[in-house]
């Protein structure tokens, strides 16, 4: 063993990997831009984001508002309506994005290092080994 690190942040450092993670979750229609307005938010609490999943494109959830990801100094941070989290997407929505993002990171590292990837699910834990 030579180095051990843990990552818990709910901000996503790499936009491309975030898009890949969202696509894996079924969110394939995504709008990208800079400080784009989010639909469905109260005008008194208007929000903008740089990556957007339009509510009209999420047909199975009937969302009240667009889902956004705002670029910050530490990465992209999710902007999601509380009611959508509570009643439509599930309170663990951002955690599920984290999980998908971490798997996308493992795939990227395997490709970058020319390695092989072995994935194993043990209960609620996913173990991925990238050998190179």
């Amino acid at each position: 063993m030579s180095k051990y690190m843990t990552f818990e942040s709910q901000s996503f450092a790499n936009g491309k990997l975030l898009l890949e993670a969202l696509s894996e979750m079924g969110f394939t229609a995504v709008t990208e831009g800079k400080e784009l307005p989010l639909d469905g938010w109260d005008k008194r609490n208007a929000r903008t984001a740089d990556i957007i999943i339009r509510r009209k494109d999420v047909r199975n959830h009937h969302l009240l508002a667009d889902i956004g990801f705002q670029k910050t100094s530490s990465g992209y941070v999710a902007v999601v309506d509380d009611m959508d989290l509570d009643y439509r997407l599930g309170k663990d929505f951002v955690v599920r994005i984290q999980n998908s993002y971490h798997e996308a990171v493992a795939r990227k590292m395997a490709k970058k290092l020319g390695g092989t990837l072995v994935k194993e699910r043990i209960g609620k834990t996913v173990k991925i080994r990238v050998k190179f």
């Binding site: 063993m1 030579s2 180095k3 051990y4 690190m5 843990t6 990552f7 818990e8 942040s9 709910q10 901000s11 996503f12 450092a13 790499n14 990997l17 530490s74 990465g75 663990d92 951002v94 955690v95 984290q98 999980n99 971490h102 798997e103 990171v105 493992a106 990227k108 590292m109 970058k112 290092l113 390695g115 609620k124 834990t125 996913v126 173990k127 991925i128 080994r129 990238v130 050998k131 190179f132």
Partner: protein, 64 residues
Amino acid sequence: MPEIEFTIYTETGKCETQINGIQGPACEKTARQLKEVLGAPMTDRKTAEYQVKPAVQRRVGSNE
């Protein structure tokens, strides 16, 4: 064989990474690549193998 082991805790979103089989500062490059896409780590620890210096054979020759 060098490897990166990812452990993803699906209930919390936490991800542990362990870089195995790369001794010394050579593994810093891989760690840096991970940090670029995962952001700043909460824990960042060198383990025992990190301290092992690669064996270097020196030739001792005569001054002829």
